[in-house]
């Protein structure tokens, strides 16, 4: 953490307060320590020596309660990059104190290893489907993870990777050669999204390769575990470098953003940065890619009113906003309606929902209420982390509206035509 550099940046904040308008944690709590200018003030006072990072647990708490959604930075007239500042402070805490045990288990213990995620999924499936769930709940062990088990979606039987032999086809005279970055969430929790992505790409004459990548490193990065983040990044870069695709497709906005962030990660390592830049150029969100290539419009009908939730990583990191909406509008029968605060964070923020459940649920409620007001029957979004959080929100509000990726709806529309 370069204190002088951070201080120069911090002083651009003149406390105008406009961040209050868009910061989700401020909107639900009304507290100054839950908004950019408040968090910036704490960082500034700690760097200037009026407070001490290590002696004030509340500083760490408030720093960790930031969603890193970037709404403040986008709305800030001075362009203060608060999420970046917060990330640097978290990195400082992690490197001096180490990760808290729960995060250590989850991130380094499970997410860093593909095989372990697979195992956890299968165990969790058993947990969900059998009486073990009731047992565990009775013991209250699940409380350690703040009843995270509640937030889990109905887990699929097979991961996407497990189904690849059946899904992937040889395309005759393909127009495009793409690599599909299969992220952990889609692979393990929302395989229907992965299945749809593969279907749609193949329908549009793309030959798909699915490289053997590991977690992109998003959770590790958000927790400030830079060491592990780099390790995972290097593995991914090496794997992706083996290929020469026209595009690297992501259907998870978070993975897409993180892959592009590898460039900044290797600021001081020119070899890897060169690789990262090459990769970053090719990374495309599925919706953007489909619009670019002019996807096939022969489809059947889906009669529904749909509204779109912008994942933070989509709208503010990848700058994807119009493409998913265009895809939805192109499907006959779909009435696309905008919801209020469509681009406000859903409160999921990866594992934020597990570690900061109160704020997460308040923000989620706000989102679901905005959804309700549209009268839509389907909520569309392009990030499985959002999908998990929003599905959980539907459950909490006793709604049955499904949460779908635009590519899932497109795949369905293609299928409907065939019928």
């Amino acid at each position: 953490m370069n204190k002088n550099v951070i201080l120069e940046v911090l002083m651009k904040c003149n406390r105008c307060g406009l961040c209050q308008e868009v910061c989700p944690t401020y909107r639900v709590s009304g507290n100054e320590f839950a908004v950019a200018r408040g968090r910036n003030r704490l960082i500034r006072m700690a760097i200037e020596g009026q407070l001490e990072f290590d002696k004030e647990p509340e500083i760490e708490q408030f720093i960790n309660e930031c969603l890193l959604c970037k709404a403040c930075e986008t709305n800030c007239p001075s362009g203060v990059p608060t999420p970046e500042l917060i990330s640097q402070v978290r990195e400082y805490y992690t490197s001096t104190k180490g990760l808290p045990i729960a995060k250590k288990i989850m991130y380094r213990g499970v997410f860093s290893h593909n095989k372990r995620i697979d195992l956890v999924r299968r165990l969790a499936k058993v947990y969900q489907k059998t009486g073990i769930k009731t047992l565990v709940r009775m013991t209250g062990v699940n409380n350690i993870f703040n009843k995270a088990d509640d937030m889990l979606p109905d887990l699929p039987k097979n991961s996407v990777r497990g189904q690849l032999p059946m899904l992937l086809k040889n395309i005759h005279q393909p127009k495009y050669k793409v690599a599909y970055f299969l992220g952990c969430s889609v692979n393990n929790f929302f395989s229907s999204i992965g299945v749809a992505t593969i279907k749609v790409l193949q329908k549009n004459s793309c030959q798909i390769i699915v490289p053997d990548v590991n977690c992109c490193g998003a959770p590790h990065n958000s927790a400030g575990d830079q060491r592990e983040f780099k390790r995972l990044a290097i593995k991914n870069l090496k794997e992706l470098a083996k290929l020469d695709p026209d595009a690297i497709i992501v259907d998870c906005s978070t993975c897409g953003s993180i892959l592009k962030e590898y460039v900044g990660l290797f600021e001081n390592e020119p070899e890897y940065q060169k690789l990262a830049k090459q990769i970053a150029e090719k990374v495309k969100d599925i919706s953007s890619f489909l619009i670019e290539i002019g996807f096939k419009k022969e489809m059947g009908e889906i009669k529904a009113r749909v509204t779109y939730h912008d994942p933070c990583h989509g709208v503010r990191f990848l700058n994807v906003q119009e493409a998913p909406r265009e895809i939805l509008k192109s499907i006959p029968g779909i009435e696309l309606i905008e919801m209020n605060e469509a681009d406000m964070c859903c409160g999921g923020a990866g594992s934020y929902s597990i570690f900061y459940p109160k704020l997460s649920r308040q923000i989620l409620s706000r989102k679901i209420n905005n959804f309700k007001k549209t009268g839509a029957s389907i909520l569309a979004t392009s990030c499985p982390a959002c999908t998990m959080q929003l599905s959980f929100g539907m459950k909490l509000h006793e709604l049955t509206s499904p949460v779908k990726h635009p590519v899932e709806l497109l795949a369905e529309a293609y299928d409907n035509k065939a019928k």
């Binding site: 002083m11 651009k12 904040c13 003149n14 406390r15 105008c16 307060g17 406009l18 209050q20 308008e21 009304g30 507290n31 100054e32 320590f33 408040g38 003030r41 704490l42 006072m45 407070l51 004030e56 509340e58 500083i59 408030f62 800030c76 007239p77 001075s78 362009g79 203060v80």
Partner: protein
């Protein structure tokens, strides 16, 4: 720090989750949008008038000062409070109680964000006219305390012209209701207006009855570029002299244009000396006539070119950029001082020029944005507070600006308030008998000087 006994009593009144008193949380309530800092003893979040009455009574019993706080975006230091004050945040006291389309009124709690009220009134074809640049975050209570102006102020006036009545908790803890809907038919003194602009020193507003204005069917937003500030200022005078009452008329100088363009990327001309941004509204026949007059004024005053916004999006983009001025300028140097001077409109061009000369004289950066339509200028002076000489120079420059303002027959604060920032200028602006009269007002409302003490009166 306040004693535990007090904190516990406060917890009993508002609930423990609505009392903050840890060192770190207090740090985030020690500032507003001014350079001043306080040192709160506790922050409380009441949600009813009764809670506020209890808090005031408690403060009275233990002789603790109180300071009301809305969004904390005060520009003159009015929300930071004195040491160990109880900061009464109205942020959660924020319901819109009623919108009455026949009476064209809204009854709101003080924590309602200005923008929320706009959105709530819109379905009725109504708007709440005062729209300060901070409207997306500032609260009605704060707007009333500072008699906030707004970009629409030229035509629609500022906050006090839209307040019909208030419910106030007096420093004694008594609750009073002022004003009302009905035309006066028997003599009575209306105390509503002494609270507007009183900066929270005479009592706490707990309800406001506000007047709403019909949204006019036709709006035209225009920009014009000028090679000199004087030309722009003269153009403004001509528009007013022609009898045109625009909804809003703003002048941005070169420093401001550049800073805002970096943020908004609207294609504003970064080499222009001055930009006029204006809007007219009314029935279509009226706006057409007004636009014609305005274009004539542009031409008569050497405007380099002019544009009319072609659709609502372009219009919104222009106003978003304008509202971002205060923040956007923040990145020029680590610190800045914003002034809020008003001169009679026919002296606007002269004053713009004088400020530019002061910038030259002291060799400092001053960005100027003005609510030209009502003669309200916001010269912003930039400096690095870490360099002691710079701060001194800025102080001198400020003093000179204020002196010139008074010479021109103007006033030292148009809409930001006196707060802490302009205390030292009060004796320049008012004679001793006038200041004494104001002191008597304060004395009669708050004899113990506990309600937001230390501001407004030197």
């Amino acid at each position: 720090m306040l004693k535990n006994e007090i904190i516990n009593k406060l917890r009993k009144i508002v609930g423990s989750e609505n009392v903050l008193n840890s060192k770190i949380t207090m740090t985030t309530y020690a500032y507003d949008s001014s350079p001043f800092l306080g040192k709160p003893g506790a922050v409380v979040f009441p949600t009813t008038t009764e809670m506020i009455v209890e808090i005031i009574k408690l403060a009275n019993k233990y002789n603790i000062p109180v300071t009301p706080r809305g969004a904390g975006t005060c520009l003159c230091g009015g929300a930071v409070g004195v040491e160990d004050a109880i900061i009464i945040s109205l942020a959660k006291f924020n319901r819109i109680l009623e919108i009455n389309a026949v009476n064209r009124t809204a009854l709101v709690e003080p924590g309602v964000v200005n923008k929320e009220l706009q959105l709530a009134a819109e379905p009725y074809g109504l708007m709440y006219a005062p729209d300060p640049a901070s409207q997306n975050v500032s609260t009605i209570g704060g707007n009333i305390a500072e008699n906030a102006g707004g970009i629409r102020g030229v035509k629609y006036g500022c906050t006090k012209e839209h307040v019909l009545g208030l419910e106030v908790v007096l420093p004694s803890g008594e609750v009073i209701t002022t004003g009302g809907l009905n035309s006066q038919v028997d003599p009575e003194i209306d105390l509503t207006y002494i609270f507007c602009g009183a900066e929270g020193t005479l009592g706490l507003v707990t309800k406001a009855l506000l007047s709403l204005t019909p949204i006019n069917s036709d709006t035209k937003t225009m920009t014009a570029v000028f090679a000199t500030l004087e030309d722009a200022g003269a153009c403004v005078s001509e528009i007013i002299a022609k009898g045109v009452i625009p909804t809003t008329m703003e002048i941005l100088d070169n420093t401001v244009i550049k800073a805002v363009e970096d943020y908004a990327k609207l294609g504003l001309p970064k080499d222009a000396a001055a930009l006029i941004l204006l809007e007219v509204d009314g029935f279509p026949a009226e706006t057409k006539a007004m636009v014609e007059n305005i274009i004539q004024a542009f031409k008569n005053n050497n405007s380099i070119n002019y544009k009319i916004a072609k659709d609502e999006k372009e219009r919104q983009d222009l106003w978003k950029a304008r509202r971002a001025v205060n923040g956007a300028l923040g990145k020029l140097k680590p610190s800045n001082v914003v002034h809020d001077i008003v001169v009679p409109r026919d002296r606007l061009a002269v004053m713009l020029k004088k400020v530019a000369k002061i910038a030259e004289k002291y060799d400092i950066i001053i960005g100027q944005v003005a609510h030209a339509g009502d003669g309200n200028l916001h010269p912003t002076l930039y400096y690095d507070h870490r360099i002691p000489k710079e701060a001194d120079v800025i102080e001198e420059a400020c003093d000179e600006i204020i002196k010139e303002t008074i010479n021109e027959g103007g006033t030292i604060s148009g809409e930001h308030g006196i707060g802490l920032e302009k205390l030292k200028y009060m004796p320049l602006a008012f004679s001793q008998p006038s200041l004494d009269y104001m002191k008597k007002i304060k004395e009669s409302f708050d004899p113990e000087n506990r309600t937001n003490p230390g501001i407004l009166l030197p």
